[in-house]
């Protein structure tokens, strides 16, 4: 399809990017944490992809290339607004994350996501992860990219992807397990007439 676009069938670009609309937006949001900024960064990333389509090399995956473009776009915006921001971490550090220790867990069904406060808890916890963990978590868990593609998109080793994902999962368990448990067990507020 890329060859067809480059040889004149420009309208096909709409179809080419359709499967990646959500991924690109989510990656921008995971860095910028603001919906309007993320949407703008996502649009800019797709425009850059269009203008630079001739530079895409078919040995790379198109999705990885797009993710790299949106990450660069979002990082550029972050640097402009938060120049002191650093995303460096030491993956070889020995400080392991300790999960929340519970003695039992009552499964929280997916239907609970119909409640907006549950969705908000989950969003806040993910967006509160340190940036290097957040990027890996969103790519691996939400976008279901494999370890190799995640490593390529982020320019880190596969070992770092695995380590960051592991820590991100335990950080989320630590924060969310008690919050979800109390949110789900708390009775919904009802309006009482008497």
């Amino acid at each position: 399809m890329i060859a067809a676009i480059l040889s004149g069938e420009r309208e096909l670009f709409h179809e080419l990017i359709r499967p990646y609309e959500r991924t690109v937006y989510l990656m921008a949001l995971s860095l910028l944490k603001n919906e309007a900024e993320a949407e703008d960064a996502a649009q800019e990333a797709f425009l850059k992809a269009y203008r630079n389509l001739a530079r895409f090399r078919s040995e790379a995956r198109f999705s990885t290339w797009l993710i790299t473009i949106v990450l660069n776009e979002a990082r550029g915006r972050l640097r402009r607004t938060q120049p002191a921001l650093t995303d460096s971490i030491d993956d070889d550090r020995e400080d392991n994350v300790t999960p929340m220790q519970l003695t039992d867990w009552r499964e929280i069904p997916s239907q609970s996501l119909e409640r907006s406060e549950i969705r908000t808890l989950l969003r806040r916890a993910m967006l509160a992860l340190p940036l290097p963990y957040r990027e890996v978590f969103i790519l691996r868990e939400l976008e279901e990219r494999n370890v190799q593609e995640t490593a390529e998109a982020l320019g880190i080793t596969q070992a770092s992807v695995k380590m960051r994902l592991h820590r991100a999962r335990l950080m989320l368990q630590k924060q969310l397990a008690p919050q979800l448990k109390s949110a789900v067990s708390a009775p919904r507020r009802r309006f009482l007439w008497f």
Binding site: F13, D104, E141, L142, R169
Partner: protein
């Protein structure tokens, strides 16, 4: 090998992703069979991962796709992708 809880927590991701070797997996399962804390850690982590991955958690802004494709249409109408070598 008998694992303590800390060792099991270190292996939780490998266990969930099914990337542990057979011997380590068996050690983890032996521990899980009699440790209610590690079983609850595993169950809660697995449950939380299912919830976080649900598309309803992060919804696209209303009209996002329409605005995106309108902007792309403008760029497409302006001309074909350049054959130049500028960097994305």
């Amino acid at each position: 090998m008998v694992l303590n809880c800390r060792h099991v927590w270190d292996q939780i991701s490998g266990y969930l992703d099914n990337t542990l070797d057979a011997a380590t997996r068996a050690d983890v399962e032996n521990h899980l069979a009699h440790c209610e804390i590690c079983s609850a850690v595993l169950d809660s982590t697995r449950n939380i991962l299912i919830l976080t991955a649900d598309d309803r958690v992060f919804e696209l802004p209303l009209g996002y796709r329409e605005r995106l494709h309108a902007r792309l249409t403008e760029a497409i109408l302006k001309g074909p992708p350049p054959k130049g070598t500028s960097s994305p």
